[in-house]
Amino acid sequence: MRKITVLAATAAIGLGAAAQAATLEEVKARGQLNCGVATGVPGFAFTDASGEWDGFDVAVCRAVAAAVLGDPKAVKFVPTTGKTRFTALASGEVDMLSRNTTWTFSRDVDLKFDFVGINYYDGQGFMVRKDLGVTSAKELDGATVCIQTGTTTELNLADFFRINNMSYEPVPIETNAEAQQKYLANACDVYTTDASGLAATRATFEDAANHIILPEIISKEPLGPLVRHGDNEWGDIVRWTLNALIAAEELGITSANVMEMAKAPTSNPEINRMLGTEGNLGAMMGLDKDWAARAIAAVGNYGEIFERYIGEKTPIGLPRGLNAQWTQGGLMYSPPFR
């Protein structure tokens, strides 16, 4: 009896491993990429008027679909909540997750995922009313703070106030929508969450100019797409698709000129290698030579995506900051295509 159980377990694990090792083949056979996204984060994942998913994180899914399947529309979006996202990925319901997920040690090691890169460097910030007269987070001693319960932001906040020897009064809230209402109703002096979320929230206020986001960022929240442990080939594909988008901005490739550049070799050998007019980088990971060109043509380079969904011209109006190219003083840095 026990032997049978062990056998069955081994078989199940074997099946699982076999199914995991061939994500690329599975996706190709299915003709569709299953991509886990958030159920709604302003600028990062939302639905447009016709019910199509769109956003900064969604663009990564579309880029991978374009690279692998040649069609940015060949994505089945699986919306996941903070509670269901990791099981959806671990169980194989989705091939990758592109969903405002912070890269942490335990998620990488203990939950057995591979973060393939970072598409947004976020950090926890504070928003206050201008008439409070506060210009730095260090002056917030004794403030009432609206804080989402059960998140890392709650712990970061406690740490920050302890380090600076200050006291605060937490006002626990459940969702961002609730926080907006509470903050606007003066139930708290300060609202704290990731800086991108603060900017998005502030953009919705009728009197946005009367609120300021304090300069201090008190935590590191590197957000990026992730895949399961155990299928490194698939991880490579997602990682280098993201890198291609980042490198494209650095090299001046845009959705407008990428097809022109991919037609014939240019004077820059790195562009040629990436777009497949020189060498065979695509074949090394089981794709054709146009993979990167298709991804960039579908969604644009990293800078274009940023400007389209969350950049300064959008209502969210986030500055590039840490997310600028390394040549511009930011942290966006793609390893070379060689």
């Binding site: 709604g40 639905t47 019910g51 919306p79």
Partner: protein, 426 residues
């Protein structure tokens, strides 16, 4: 001599009642200002109502129906409701991510639903309409999920064949034998005949609609699918469980008690998470066990446990004499239940049953925690759109209105049903 009239010649015409005892004034006096306490309460309540109206009127009066974003709304009518978001996303509220060219299918299914439940709800309607109610589930399934028409047709054929067989056997060798034969035949047909036959027919004569997967279904369509299936499925299961709990057969009784107590002891949200998250890990990767189907089964089982307890209350309320009288008439168990006990017990249980149904209908919103887009869940991605981020009242108010209409309708119907079935002499 002048006559002294000391006897009235006719009746004195009734004088009109004093003004404080007629019409509006009397009603006001009796109902609103009958005592100091009442007067204070009336004034406070009137003040609250007026305040709410004063707050709501400019908001609704300044409503904007056509705008591209929240900021446009605010520019057109500051302080007014921005109903443009509901105007723009109306189809998402109704159908979720259902393909736009197929919107007529859930709409038609909804009209069919009205036609199908009408004869169930109102006995004045011709009984022949019940045939439509019988085939409606298959029709609705086919309309909403699409695919080949032969699958549902074969299911219908199998059910009809099993029922016919059950009747024939029942005539020859008794009701119980007929029931067993019918169930066996249905099980055999579903296991071995329905799938291959419908597959073969679909290849030979391909008639069908474009298939729609369950993750594309959302909005009020999803609420109605879960709510109606749960309500229609949980009542019969609940009745069987309630009878089983009162049964003299120890095994049946233990099973029913165990099931009911387990389900009632666990929160619905936990069961939803188990169905959604854990099943995925246990099943081999790639197994497609439809998420909506899992939710439907769970919600139905969950509600049936509660219904069972409500009906058990009704059964317990019947005097023992009813059971004894039924037995004295020589009715067997099923007949005495069907003809004597259940009609009375169910009548007593109506408020409790409808109460459970209303609760079930509202509980369908819990599916948003497992990322299914019921009307409440679909608000999140809409609010994440830069154009509409910051809208709260309009969206949640709209969903609340929908739920209020449905639940209030159910509650009114239950009151009507109670009045109609009222046979006592109170």
């Amino acid at each position: 001599m002048a006559e002294i009239a000391y006897v009235a010649r006719g009746t004195i015409p009734p004088s009109p009642p004093p003004p404080s005892e007629v019409g509006v004034v009397r009603w006001l006096r009796e109902n609103l200002f009958s005592s100091t306490g009442n007067t204070i309460l009336t004034l406070v309540a009137a003040w609250v109502v007026v305040e709410v109206f004063l707050a709501l009127l400019p908001w609704l009066g300044g409503a904007v129906w056509n705008a591209g974003s929240l900021s446009e709304c605010r520019a057109i009518s500051p302080g007014g409701a921005c109903l443009a978001v509901i105007n723009e996303r109306f189809n998402q509220f109704l159908f979720g991510f259902y393909p736009a060219e197929g919107y007529w299918r859930p709409s038609l299914a909804f009209l069919g639903l009205l036609a199908a439940i009408a004869p169930v709800l109102f006995t004045a309607l011709p009984r022949k309409m019940l045939w439509f109610s019988g085939i409606y589930p298959l029709l609705a399934y086919w309309l909403i999920f699409g695919g080949s028409v032969w699958g549902p047709l074969m299911v219908l054929a199998a059910v009809v064949a099993a029922a016919a067989l059950a009747r024939a056997v029942a005539r020859l060798s008794g009701e119980v034998a007929g029931m067993i034969a019918g169930v066996l035949a249905a099980a055999l047909m579903f296991l071995f005949a329905v799938d291959p036959l419908s597959g073969w027919l679909a290849d030979a004569v391909p008639i069908g609609l474009a298939p729609v997967s369950s993750d594309q279904i959302g909005g009020f369509t999803l609420t109605l699918i879960i709510g109606v299936t749960g309500i229609a499925g949980s009542l019969p299961i609940g009745i069987v469980l309630a009878l089983g709990r009162q049964s003299n057969l120890p095994l049946v009784k233990a099973l029913c008690v165990g099931f009911i107590e387990f389900i009632r002891g666990v929160p619905l949200i936990t069961l939803l998470f188990v169905a959604h998250v854990l099943l995925n890990i246990f099943l081999p990767p790639g197994t497609e066990f439809d998420k909506l189907l899992r939710v439907l089964i769970l919600v139905t089982l969950f509600a049936s446990a509660y219904i069972a307890e409500v009906i058990r209350g009704g059964l317990a309320a019947l005097p023992k004499g009813q059971y004894e009288a039924a037995a004295a008439l020589g009715l067997d168990y099923w007949k005495s239940m069907r003809l004597v006990i259940l009609p009375q017990a169910l009548k007593i249980s109506i408020p409790g049953i409808v109460n459970t149904f209303i609760g079930l209908f509202k509980d369908t919103t819990l599916v948003s925690v497992i990322a299914m887009f019921d009307p409440l869940g679909i608000i999140t991605p809409i609010r994440a759109d830069q154009n509409w981020n910051g809208i709260v009242w309009e969206l949640y108010g709209f969903v609340a209105l929908f739920f209020f209409i449905c639940c209030y309708g159910m509650s009114r119907y239950s009151m009507y049903l109670e009045r109609r079935l009222k046979t006592d002499h109170r």
